[in-house]
Amino acid sequence: MNSEYRTLSKDGLWENNPALVQLLGLCPLLAVSGTVTNALGLGIATLLVLVGSNITVSLVRNFVPNEIRIPVFVIVIATFVTLVELTMNAFTYGLYMALGIFIPLIVTNCAIIGRAEAYASKNNWYKAGFDGLMMGLGFAAVLVALGAIRELIGQGTLFDGAELLLGEWASSLRIQLIEFDYPLLLAILPPGAFIGLGFLIAGKNWLDEKKREKLAKAPVEKAQRARVTHVS
């Protein structure tokens, strides 16, 4: 039981990360990662939709005939997106305006229907909810990392506009790390998002490679035992 949750966390955050490995949901990932605030806002919105839709899909999985499962998933996801959109419009108005069309576009984030189909429709509700949480966190983490890189290189700040998400007190979170006469446009524009994501994926692969090398170099006996238990 415990190890299953560990696997779910590891998959969502690293091994099978929706943004770095599955490469799902690239449209919002690339478009809204201009600043940490926008990235965090969209990351949280996606996380909420993912958890909500995973739990709901799991709860209804026994009542839904196989042939109409996809329309039902779409209804469930669209409903959660609308709920999140209305809530953000009411409570985080500035961020709602800043994210604009990308909140409704969460409905087309393939990561969400992907998890509904691949996991939530086959497992009970708390496991599905946990899977949604971990996948959502993994997606949000990449979004925020990309947002931080682009904001730092592009305008030399971090947490610019945090008050839109967190309220007035957060305007003091803004840090000016580098002063530019002219900001590096490339980082702010869409190509910067592609390049940044490329570096993130390369970084992840490099870390994995390192880990594999380390395992290979480990004492022969141990490595063999490890291979027996963890094969495939």
Binding site: I68, N89, A90, Y93, M97, L189
Partner: protein
Amino acid sequence: MLKNMQKNGLILGAFAIAATSLVVATQYLTADRIAEQQRGELLRTLNTLIPAAQHDNDLYADCTLIAAPDALGAPLQPVYRSRLAGEGNALAIQATATDGYSGNIHFLVAINDNGLVQGVRVLQHKETPGLGDKIELKKSDWILSFDGERVRSENDSRWAVRRDNGMFDQFTGATITPRALVNAVRKAVWYGQENSAELFAAASNCYTESTQTAAAAMNELEPNITELGE
């Protein structure tokens, strides 16, 4: 097969009904709060242009929709009237520059009863980040260079960027954006000056059922696709 269709149709229908009720309930619960947010946002911008001490009327409510597409850049634009003891003393006109570098630039310009510009604020734009976005007060104080200026004639040649021998700075690497905005502000200010009596006298009609509400016109200007589309 018919039976199967019936059953699946019913299940799908049940989901649709449940989903719709959930959405409608949430919409009902958040509607007031959303309207309040839109109003608050509009008032914040209006109050940076027309200080609270200058008026004793409700700026948000004292609003009329004006159809002057040539001068204001869109078919219907809200104009807010500032009055003190019933005496009109300033107008805040929403207008649109249609020839920006990428897409429309929506802005609000306030003029006082002498025709002097009290201030200009950009409400929404899609200009290039880092270059054209210096029209935002957050990025640069360029937009303040309109303050206290006056339009002397319909084609006042001083109302141009320096490159066109006018009195407003352009930005390094971006001339189209400030040029578009300077022209649009000039047209809106001239329109406001020439028609101020009519504008003050016009009935408040922004929030009647039949017209699109001004808050909606201002806050839902255009889908905000800033970088990538779907």
